[in-house]
């Protein structure tokens, strides 16, 4: 048994427990939180390295052979995701040293952050359907408490919407699991995948697929099920919004891709069309919401939705190139979204407002922040040489190959609208002159650098990936190959 695969779950669990025990000491919590995130990044990187050199990593819990016990699997897709998530979690943990208030820290912000990471990592590396449901609930309850931490009225209101819809999503997912278990008699992904090939009952298969689509679609914020996202993501403080926007929707979309490629490998005609329609509408609605929005954090929340459309579009093509584009897009979108929300938090802090029209002067007073904003913002709009461009280019290529011209046109149009949105945001918040002389923030240079270091590091990393996208693209392509050709995955799990 490979003990390494358990580490992405164990490390955040231990960090969470230790920070909870040391909750009286703010300093000890902070040190542990950053150390825990660093250790997580280390362990995830080693797993990613092992996956790259030795192929798919599998660990059977308690040495129970595959279909009976719980299996942990890391292929290129999940290993890439846990590494990038850990990177973002570290950035958020550092940012939270200054960007989080004392009360929230004493009421367990660090503990919850790490428990959330435990749930996310568990969902990424599990190879068992019911286990995935359990990890979803772990990350859900952690995110619920993170969302209401601080007890502001708008937080409670956002949380009611978020909690309500997510409970329904979980039930939809659980129903699908129950039906699939009755259908195949197994809960192991690889085992179900082998038996799905033998069973042909289109009606029930479509029902199960639809239930999965609803459950994960709510979590990923897809078109008709997205309305809770702009109602809740802007309410908590910036580090919480950043980790939510960066990771939570990606867990939903990861599960969607994993389930739909592995368990329903030959999608019935309308599933494919449905996914493409949903993708197109998600992109358009998200960007139109962002165009009309005047509040920075709500605007960013709408942009989270439109990015999910691109990923689902890649899944909808069901080709290796399309999936490679989707995976690459997810990989670069996690740091992009996280750093955008972190920058949103700094903008609010420096100018004392969240209304875009009332901001200004950031370019004169915080040039480094202004530069760091350009990278994720233009990556979002798909502007070369930023990494979002390569993701969109691959997706457009895949669309042209499969002759889905309409969705490609929609994607390009949405890219242009996104450029308009971020351009406007840049011009109004950064470029326009400040209302008074200078900014309202009284932070010292050291305090500001704690906030800006993670943002700048994320921006530099994204810029480097944009200039030299080959390694990340190769990882995405390897992940996509594993997704379309499931034989190695099944072989690795079932032995």
């Amino acid at each position: 048994m490979k003990v390494l695969l358990v580490l992405p779950v164990i490390i955040p669990a231990l960090t969470g427990i230790l920070t909870l025990l040391l909750r009286r000491s703010r300093r000890a919590q902070r040190v542990l939180s950053v150390l825990g995130a660093t250790a997580l990044l280390g362990a995830s990187s080693v797993i990613l390295w092992n996956v790259q050199t030795e192929g798919i990593q599998v660990a059977q819990m308690g040495d129970w052979a595959a279909p009976f016990g719980i299996t942990l699997v890391a292929d290129a897709f999940s290993a890439g995701l846990i590494t990038i998530s850990a990177f973002v979690a570290l950035a958020v943990a550092v940012y939270a040293l200054r960007g989080m208030d004392v009360e929230r820290e004493f009421f367990g912000f660090h503990t919850l952050l790490h428990l959330l990471m435990m749930g996310i990592n568990g969902a990424f590396i599990t190879g068992d359907l019911f286990n995935m449901y359990v990890w979803f609930e772990v990350l859900l309850i952690a995110s619920f408490v993170l969302l209401v931490l601080g007890n502001e009225e708008r937080q409670l209101d956002g949380a009611v919407k978020y909690v309500g819809i997510n409970l329904v999503a979980s039930v939809s997912f659980l129903t699908a699991i129950g039906l699939l278990y009755g259908f195949t008699g197994s809960l192991n992904f690889a085992d179900i995948a082998t038996s799905m090939g033998n069973i042909r009952e289109a009606g029930l298969e479509a029902t199960i697929a639809a239930l999965f689509l609803v459950g994960f679609g709510i979590k990923a914020g897809l078109f008709p099920l997205y309305f809770w996202l702009p109602a809740s993501y802007h309410t908590p403080p910036a580090p919480v919004s950043a980790i939510f926007a960066g990771l939570l929707t990606k867990v939903g979309v990861y599960s969607l891709i994993r389930i739909f490629t592995l368990l329903f490998p030959e999608p019935t005609g309308y599933t494919k069309t449905l996914l493409l329609v949903v993708a197109g509408l998600t992109m358009v609605i998200g960007v139109l919401g962002a165009v009309t929005e005047r509040n920075v954090n709500r605007l960013l929340a709408f942009l989270v939705i439109s990015a999910m459309g691109y990923v689902v579009m890649g899944l909808g093509f069901f080709t290796t190139l399309g999936l490679a584009g989707a995976v690459f897009y997810i990989f670069q979108d996690i740091p992009v979204k996280a750093s955008l929300f972190l920058i949103g938090g700094v903008m609010e802090r420096e100018t004392g407002t969240t209304e875009i029209g009332k901001m200004g002067g950031l370019y004169t007073h915080r040039p480094l922040l202004a530069l760091a904003f350009i990278v994720p913002a233009f990556s979002l709009a798909g502007f070369p040489p930023f990494p979002g461009f390569w993701g969109k280019l691959t997706l457009v290529q895949a669309g042209l190959e499969t002759e889905n011209y309409l969705i490609v046109a929609v994607a390009l149009l949405v890219g242009a609208l996104t450029l308009l949105v971020v351009g406007q945001l840049w011009a109004r918040a950064f470029w326009s002159p400040a209302r008074e002389d200078g900014l309202v923030s009284t932070d010292t240079f050291l305090q500001r650098s704690v906030l800006q270091t993670p943002i700048v590091v994320l921006a530099v990393a994204l810029f480097a990936v944009g200039l030299y996208a080959q390694p990340l693209f190769e990882l995405a392509h390897q992940a996509a190959t594993n997704l379309t050709n499931t034989a190695p995955y099944i072989q690795a799990v079932l032995g």
Partner: protein, 130 residues
Amino acid sequence: MELILAVVSGLLFAASFYLLLRRNLLRFVIGIIILGNAVNLLIFTMGRLTREVPPVIPYGQKTIEGAYANPLPQALILTAIVISFGLLAFTLVLIYRNYTVSETVDADNLMASEPKRDVDLQTEDKRLPA
């Protein structure tokens, strides 16, 4: 037996959907409770109902001989019950806390996280939420 359970599960689903569509948040929570039970019953039914011996392996043997009752759905339901119980407790506290702050359990009046409206659209409807 399977038919009865299937019908009961369906009725629970119908009742819960009716409650989920109400504007009153407490009714929504009751809907969630019923929905959870409907799904548990569905998992139980999908695990094949058999009136056989419990799956206990006799001493000295490695497998069970003959038919046995499937224990896995029960394990799954137990987990699901525990999880939904925890989430339910959280949801009830959240709704109560939200009620003390915003003084409403009407889903349509929860507007604290939305942008301010210029016009009050709800002046004519002052009845209690259904």
